[in-house]
Amino acid sequence: MRILFFGRLRDLAGSSEVQAPDTFETLADLRRWLAETHAGLEQALAQRGVRVAIDKAIVGNGDVSLRSAKEVAFMPPMSGG
């Protein structure tokens, strides 16, 4: 599964995209894995205003299934153009 980062999160992750195992059941599982593999990203991902899109569709605040997800994007507040 592709994990994408934008803006400040990209700087913290150290890259625009990482490859994650396809075995995570839920978004919470993925967050735990990211916290382990990318120091400093855990807090930033939990900040107010960070939105998540699964396969290019924005998802809500609660935990969400990642079954059959191919792409998860973490987006800090959008700045506009």
Partner: protein, 151 residues
């Protein structure tokens, strides 16, 4: 009417795009447009990140709503991404309509949305220091005034 939406990683000519957009459109007497340029001064460069596929889809969704609301015959939005320096074109928005008031409204509303809520992440360089930018309070106020639906 499906809006024409593009995010371009390289420089584009607003005038060439406008010419192509208006060609043969004598169904519409009015073409309002807006060109945004990178301003010179303190900012030496800026970078816009976008989410390919997602960003275009969001712009097209809002553009379609605006076009429908104002009886627009054609709506064009081209936005730069990547690194830009002063004088470069950031954005072109143009609207074709039978009446100029509708064309102006459509361009203004789409610009307001693009400047505040479009899925871009912007970084500016001042004195060699880069900083990420968020929408200004004024941007939010303008948006509220138009009552534009947002994502």
């Amino acid at each position: 009417m499906r809006p024409i939406v593009r995010v371009s990683e390289t420089a584009f000519s607003a005038e060439d795009e406008l010419r192509a957009f208006m060609r043969g459109r004598d169904d519409s007497g009015a073409c309002a447009s807006f060109v945004g340029l990178v301003r010179g001064g303190e900012v030496s460069a800026l970078e816009l990140q976008h989410y390919p596929g997602f960003t275009e889809a969001e712009i097209e969704r809002i553009a379609s709503e605006i076009a429908q609301r104002h009886s627009i015959n054609g709506l064009l939005a081209i936005h730069r991404a990547g690194r830009m320096t002063p004088g470069e074109t950031i954005v072109l928005v143009a609207a074709l309509s039978a009446h100029r008031a509708a064309a102006f409204k459509a361009v203004e509303e789409l610009m307001d949305w693009l400047k505040t809520d479009a899925p871009f992440w912007k970084r500016e360089w001042r004195d060699g220091e880069a900083a990420w930018i968020e929408p200004t309070a004024e941007d939010y106020k303008r948006r509220a005034r138009h009552d534009t639906e947002t994502a």
